[in-house]
Amino acid sequence: MKLIKTREENLEENYLELHYDKIDEETNAVLDRLRDTLRYIEGTYEDKKVTIALTDIFYIETVDRKTFAYTKDMSVEIKEALKDILEEYSKIGFVRISKSVIVNIFKIKKLQGDINMRVIIFLKNDEKLIMNRSYKNDFYKRLNDLKGRSAK
């Protein structure tokens, strides 16, 4: 299977197009991953129902038994519990960093350690999150899994 990337200026939205004769195993595997990645989640924002792409979510947090998904400019209240989100979307980059926060690995700019041996996560939207020490090993394992997957 070939991958051809074409840059088009002033494109409204990026899109993928698949050209095929028969869908073989390899193509099916790519489609499976795409289906996961291009999934959407419903929630409420300022009393309105909204649909957001999972890939737009920076992190998901539980506050007072309510779950919020944070995108670049919205905090959307969603119905799913953190546990369910992890079960369903961990393979597309969502990983737990504390009891109440799940982060999207693809939205992390960098990590930094502090004097108390806590890991500070700098997100691409310039927000900072603190990783709990007990979730550190799982986080690094997940990150290495993604690295291995992207190398394939």
Binding site: L111, N116, Y140, L143, S150
Partner: protein, 140 residues
């Protein structure tokens, strides 16, 4: 994730015991020193290995507290228990004149080495993770 659990407890005690005993023997060899209390000291090392593994296994339950506070508290607890054991031992038999100092050194050196290794590993892990993140971000 618990690093020290029921399954690996004994093997970690054995690793501590072997490392401390080897260190003791090498140190004595270097100084050409003969240990008159060899049997007593070997069992002290075994007791110390069990104690240190027990105290380090508490680390998992203390994650919400600052790291250095946990390390210092664990160190103080270890020193306290060992000094208490020496004190009780001294009630029934004669302690070596340098018993407290010797045990203080025996506890402090492994703790310092352990803390240093943890500190280095912590920052090495972050450095590696940042490289992976850089790679993932460049692929986007």
């Amino acid at each position: 994730m618990k690093l020290i659990n029921k399954r690996n407890f004994i093997s970690i005690v054995c690793i501590f015991f072997t490392l401390i005993t080897c260190g003791k023997l090498l140190y004595e060899r270097a100084l050409n020193f003969t240990d008159r209390y060899y049997t007593d000291n070997i069992f002290t090392i075994l007791g110390f290995s069990v104690l240190i593994t027990l105290i380090l296994s508490l680390h998992f339950y203390l994650q919400k507290f600052p790291f250095w506070l946990v390390i210092i508290a664990q160190y103080a607890l270890t020193v306290g228990i060992v000094f208490l054991a020496i004190f009780i031992h001294g009630r029934f038999s004669t302690n070596a004149p340098t018993a407290y100092w010797d045990m203080f050194v025996s506890i402090t050196i492994p703790f310092l080495i352990g803390a240093l290794v943890y500190y280095i590993c912590f920052f090495v892990q972050i450095k590696r993770a940042n490289k992976v993140l850089e790679k993932l971000n460049s692929e986007e």
